[in-house]
């Protein structure tokens, strides 16, 4: 897929991969073997009928292709950009065993973009509205998916979002150069066109409680995500210039701080930006820092590149753009100046020990290996915890010791008529995993609302 050249893209916030032309897409689609037992579908958390949509692209029937995708995936333009295909559909592709797998992700993106750019956004025929309405809490990937699925089944759905723009992490978290916000808006508009009402500025737990929603709606779906930033609780972590990844990205993405002073929300960036952690969010932060004008952008990670949780593609792009990687090291404290701004990060070195439960080799601190690193901006990107706002204000909603909501295999919580899915259930993960669990919960909600069933006790 053609890309924006490195030297140009690190100066702008435009998207990096430029997308297939119709000819390229048809050519790529012709590589698909059309397996009778497609492994790629098994690899997809939302079970898109991949061979069918690829066959449609090969025939040049692009509208038909997107129709097939949208049967199971309401946010294809987003998934075609941020899904870790290499571990899912493309990872399972038979061709990939010997050659390159079919570019399923890029093809999905192509089909979605083609539809949007040719303004042929088609709304599938919707069934007659059914009586019972559903409240969806949170408008991120999980909430939008559940809302779209339920709307397609004919349920009146209202989505509640605490921020001023719907989209959740798609809006505040993932940067413009990886997922343009106009695309998120278009996908949200599609969900709206399915008849879903989206109410912004409603913080469920504060403005309205789940209890109140249960009085007005037949069912409540909670998809409030992993919005609580983790800190390392090191000395000096509250110095100026140290951000959580969430604050850094929210300022830049949701509030458009990269366009300050045209937009009112500022962000201050130093010459050297150190990002702690090596997940996808960390790569986003490190690459955003370059685009904001940082001279050096450094990823600091306590294991090695092999253990990095980020997608290989993201690591590759970050490297191309000049992000430096300092592996086997992590900060232990921060040193600031008299005005309270961070100036130095004291790090310690690690070596890899025995593998832990996750199968990754455990980092072991090397005593006495402390070394200073000069930096004037630090982004702490070591993961997010489940958003506590709803669990805290919903009596009877059972949560785990990590703060995730406990659900059964259908997404049912300990409260009757309340379902949950996405990061609030499984901890911070990928967009597509949240969508997958949301689909299961939406199906369960539909079954419940159409055929009164008992509520299992958790």
């Amino acid at each position: 897929m053609p890309e924006q050249p490195v030297e140009r893209r690190i100066r702008n916030f435009d998207e990096v991969p430029l997308g297939y032309t119709p000819e390229m897409a048809m050519e790529e689609a012709s590589r698909c073997l059309q397996c009778p037992k497609p492994a790629c579908v098994e690899g997809c958390p939302v079970r898109v009928n991949i061979p069918a949509f690829i066959a449609a692209i090969r025939r040049g029937e692009f509208e038909k292709a997107i129709g097939i995708i949208k049967e199971t995936n309401s946010l294809p333009a987003i998934c075609g950009r941020v899904c870790p295909y290499e571990n899912q559909c493309e990872g399972a592709c038979i061709l990939g065993k010997k050659y390159e797998p079919v570019g399923i992700g890029f093809l999905e993106r192509f089909a979605a973009d083609y539809e949007r750019e040719h303004s042929k956004l088609e709304i599938p025929p919707l069934p007659e509205p059914r009586g019972e309405s559903v409240a969806v809490v949170g408008s991120g990937p999980a909430g939008l998916t559940a809302a779209a699925d339920l709307a397609k089944l004919g349920h009146p759905v209202t989505v509640f979002e605490a921020l001023h723009e719907p989209g959740g992490v798609l809006m505040y978290g993932i940067p413009e150069f990886r997922l343009p916000k106009r695309i998120v808006r278009a996908e949200v508009d599609y969900v709206r066109k399915l008849g879903v009402e989206i109410k912004t500025d409603v913080a469920v737990g504060l403005t309205l409680t789940v209890e109140e929603l249960l009085r007005e709606f037949g069912a409540v779906f909670i998809g409030t995500g992993a919005g609580l930033p983790n800190f390392m609780h090191l000395p000096g972590e509250s110095l100026n210039g140290i951000f959580s990844a969430n604050e850094f990205l929210t300022r830049v993405n949701l509030m458009r701080a990269y366009k300050f002073p045209e937009y009112d929300t500022p962000i201050r960036i130093g010459k050297t930006v150190a990002t702690i952690g090596a997940g996808n969010v960390s790569m986003d932060c490190a690459r955003t820092a370059l685009r904001l004008g940082a001279e050096r952008s450094i990823i600091v990670y306590r294991r090695t590149e092999q253990e990095m949780p980020a997608r290989k593609e993201e690591i590759k792009r970050a490297k191309e753009e000049g992000v430096e990687f300092h592996t086997l090291s992590a900060p232990v404290r921060y040193v600031g100046d008299e005005r309270g701004w961070v100036r130095q990060m004291i790090c310690t070195r690690f070596r890899l020990g025995e593998p832990d439960e996750s199968g990754r080799r455990r980092p072991v601190r090397i005593e006495g290996s402390e070394f200073p690193m000069d930096t004037d901006t630090v982004v702490v990107a070591i993961g997010q915890s489940p958003n506590p706002l709803v669990p805290r204000t919903t009596p009877g909603l059972k949560t785990s010791e990590w703060g995730t909501i406990i659900v059964d295999q259908e997404g049912r919580t300990s409260l009757p008529r309340v379902w949950a899915a996405g990061d609030i259930v499984h901890g911070d993960a990928t967009v597509i995993l949240a969508m997958g669990t949301a689909r299961i919960a939406a199906a369960s909600i539909h079954r419940f609302l159409t055929s009164p069933a008992g509520w299992p006790t958790l």
Binding site: G131, E132, S133, P156, T158, A162, L163, H164, Y172, E197, K199, T200, D201, V202, A203, L206, T207, L208, E212, L214, R215, E216, G218, G227, L228, P229, F231, H233, E237, S238, N240, F243, S244, N246, E247, T250, R251, M255, R256, K259, F260, P261, E262, Y263, D264, T265, P266, R268, R339, G340, N387, P388, L389, P416, R417, P452, W455
Partner: protein, 312 residues
């Protein structure tokens, strides 16, 4: 038993609102779609200039108004390109479905907000955010406010008074002209003391000196509540510490989302990192690192100046 509510079961809580709101809702639960949010234009119902640069707005926001408790705040946005800024809910009128905020013209957003007129709307308003003040029967409570924080003091004073406490209120401003909410606070206070930096009203000096004097004279409130500039709250904490009087301070750090998502508002309380937006905004003043808060609040001073100059 089928847990689903059927028509005819307990009425919508919204129906308990005034009839003119009720008519805006659907009468049928089955087609109920929170229509009340549709007209949530956050219209400015009234505007009043309290002092030069200090304006009180009454804003239509019924969902927030019916929930708001003393000590809570909203986050508002004025324009599409605007910032999200936190403002304390100073008063509510659940009957009218409105809440009041008091705005001090300081930066770009507050200037813009202050220029709005009744009938115009805010773009966004979310709340009520933060944990409400713990309104208990403490006995005697000293409530201290400085600057525009005096307005934030009002709902707390009223709540504490209604709970049966004896209220000693102390308010301070730079000059008499900038004193706000004096009459309102007097109504709910057993005693009200005033200080101005220039001596144009009441005690000449800072408001914590009033508290210090009261304590030296032998007054022993069971609780001291402080809201105002960081340095004022720090001074209050220092005054009450030797007397070991429980002291609460309502902190005002820089926020972005206000729902615990970004950590911009993190403060250190007793050596622990806390988020003012969800864990606060009130904390034990003796445990708060006010110097850190002061520094963190100056993070974007230069950008604020630039923005103010550019936008006139």
């Amino acid at each position: 038993m089928n847990p689903r509510i059927r028509p005819g079961e307990p009425e919508s809580y919204l129906a308990r609102l005034r009839p003119h709101y009720f008519f805006r809702f659907s009468f049928f639960r089955h087609t109920f779609n929170f229509d009340c949010l549709k007209w949530m234009g956050y219209t400015i119902l009234s505007k009043e200039t309290l002092a030069p640069g200090i304006t009180r707005f009454e804003i239509e926001a019924p969902l927030i108004a019916r929930k708001a408790l003393p000590g809570q705040f909203v986050i508002i946005r004025v324009t599409e390109k605007g910032e999200r800024i936190p403002l304390t809910i100073v008063d509510t009128d659940p009957e009218r479905g409105s809440l009041s905020i008091v705005v001090l013209e300081a930066g770009r957003t507050t200037k813009l907000l202050s220029s709005l007129e009744p009938g115009q709307t805010l773009l966004n308003c979310v709340g009520p955010l933060g944990r409400p003040t713990e309104i208990n029967l403490y006995g005697e409570v000293a409530c201290v406010g400085g600057g525009v924080g005096v307005a934030c003091l009002y709902p707390v004073v009223r709540g504490l008074k209604q709970a049966g406490n004896k209220i000693l209120t102390m308010i301070g401003a730079r000059t008499a002209q900038l004193l706000i909410f004096e009459q309102e606070l007097r109504r709910w206070s057993d005693e009200l003391l005033v200080s101005t930096d220039d001596g144009s009203r009441g005690h000449k000096g800072l408001v914590h000196e009033l508290l210090k004097r009261a304590l030296e004279e032998g007054r022993r409130p069971n609780l001291v509540y402080a809201v105002g500039p960081v340095l004022m709250m720090k001074a209050i904490a220092e005054v009450t510490k030797p007397y070991q009087i429980k002291t609460l301070a309502s902190l005002n750090p820089i926020m972005v989302d206000g729902t615990g998502m970004c950590g911009s508002c993190r403060v250190e309380v007793g050596g622990r990192m806390r988020f003012a937006c969800v864990d606060g905004p009130e904390f034990d003043a003796h445990q708060v690192d006010f110097d850190l808060l002061l520094k963190r609040n100056q993070r974007y001073l230069e950008e604020e100046k630039l923005s103010a100059t550019l936008h006139g």
